[in-house]
Symmetry: none
DNA sequence: AGCAAACTAGATCAAACGTTCTATTCTTGT
DNA sequence: ACAAGAATAGAACGTTTGATCTAGTTTGCT
């Protein structure tokens, strides 16, 4: 269905109005916002848009306009615990990654979350994983699982240190090699007892 | 602020109602939905909730209720049009990126989408943007806008060719330089008339 | 030009809806 | 038990708002 300029304008207005205010506009809001001369013209065009499947109207209900966007699903707000690999406040007890404070959240589609038991997000600081194309400022989603395989990218806490870092994980006998993906950095090899692996990277998000 | 049972019920009702119908409930909707005896009781509690910062009300406006921090938000299924930079079927007419077929979708949080008018997703094929840390298999979200700035990563269609590729965009007089982010690849310099820029990368998602 | 369909204008009506007022009942502390 | 504040009830009022009707204007087609 081809949209007239007016109809396109109305669609845009309805969308921005709804996002802006949290509720859809009335017919008269649309009239004013799109400089349309009469409510009946708005109604007329809304009917066309509804017939075209671009929106759904609830009759006799104020602001009963819903844009039928593409199929919707839920996003979950995941706490962002970063920055990872920058120094966190000194901690003496074993770090429980779930109890770290966070004041920020990032929306993650439910589809991605559902595959994992428990997840958190980390803000990546620094370029220690740059060869794995994980850049400064990226947000990584960690699955808080104990099932770690060689080569996984993990959030590791060195007990001798006071920070959590992102490294590639390799088990080598009694020892664990934490391999940065950066030519200028050396692998860290520690006894398994001296490190806690809190989870592995399952998703990455980057805004531009 | 501690919530009474009734207030919690109201919050839940408002949230599910809004997600369900696409617009917030009226005071009388809440009254019915929460089995409250009077509109004034609803109003009374709404004022408390508003004072507590849990929602915002627009006075004298029907359904003027907006929850301030929704713990869930929507994701939109965005069609994945990829793979980008692999050969698409030969096309003779100017490519309208919106009409390309896609049988796959990816969920993108509404927060990200809302900042852009129209978006599509592309499956990245190949490593031409590897220095920008965009890897084979990543999914990039494109904003279909004409507002392209130098240095933006864009989806470009060379009219002499039959494929869409991801490149960094630089305008150089009458010509456009399409710069791969890969040391082994040469920039493509073409007349502005021989290329169509369909949108720029605004988000990147990568699963592991 | 002539006609039909698409579109626009403005007014009006009834229902939906937020607001407010007064009165009553329920809690809580002393 | 008593007072004071918190919460509830019910009604009434006025504005907002969707629906509708009639009439006029524009557009597209032959």
């Amino acid at each position: 269905m081809p949209l007239t300029d007016k109809q396109q304008l109305m669609m845009d207005f309805i969308e921005t109005y709804t996002i802006d205010r949290g509720f859809p506009p009335t017919i008269r809001d649309i009239q004013e916002g799109c400089k349309i001369s009469s409510t009946s013209v708005v109604d007329y065009n809304l009917r066309i848009l509804e017939r075209g499947g671009l929106l759904k109207r609830s009759r006799e209900i104020s602001r009963g306009i819903e844009l039928t966007r593409r199929k919707r699903s839920d996003s979950i707000q995941v706490p962002v615990l970063g920055p990872i690999s920058a120094g966190n406040p000194l901690m003496v007890a074993p770090i429980d990654i779930r109890t770290l404070d966070s004041d920020d959240h990032v929306a993650v589609p439910e589809e991605i979350i559902n595959q994992h038991r428990e997840i958190v997000a980390f803000n990546v600081k620094g370029q220690s994983m740059i060869n794995a194309h994980i850049d400064d400022g990226d947000v990584v989603i960690l699955s808080l699982t104990r099932e770690i395989a060689d080569g996984d990218i993990v959030a590791a806490w060195l007990k001798t240190d006071d920070e959590i870092t992102l490294k590639r994980y390799f088990k080598e006998g009694d020892q664990i090699r934490l391999q940065p993906e950066n030519d200028e950095m050396e692998p860290i090899i520690v006894n398994a007892a001296d490190v806690e692996i809190h989870g592995k990277v399952v998703y990455l998000m980057r805004g531009y």
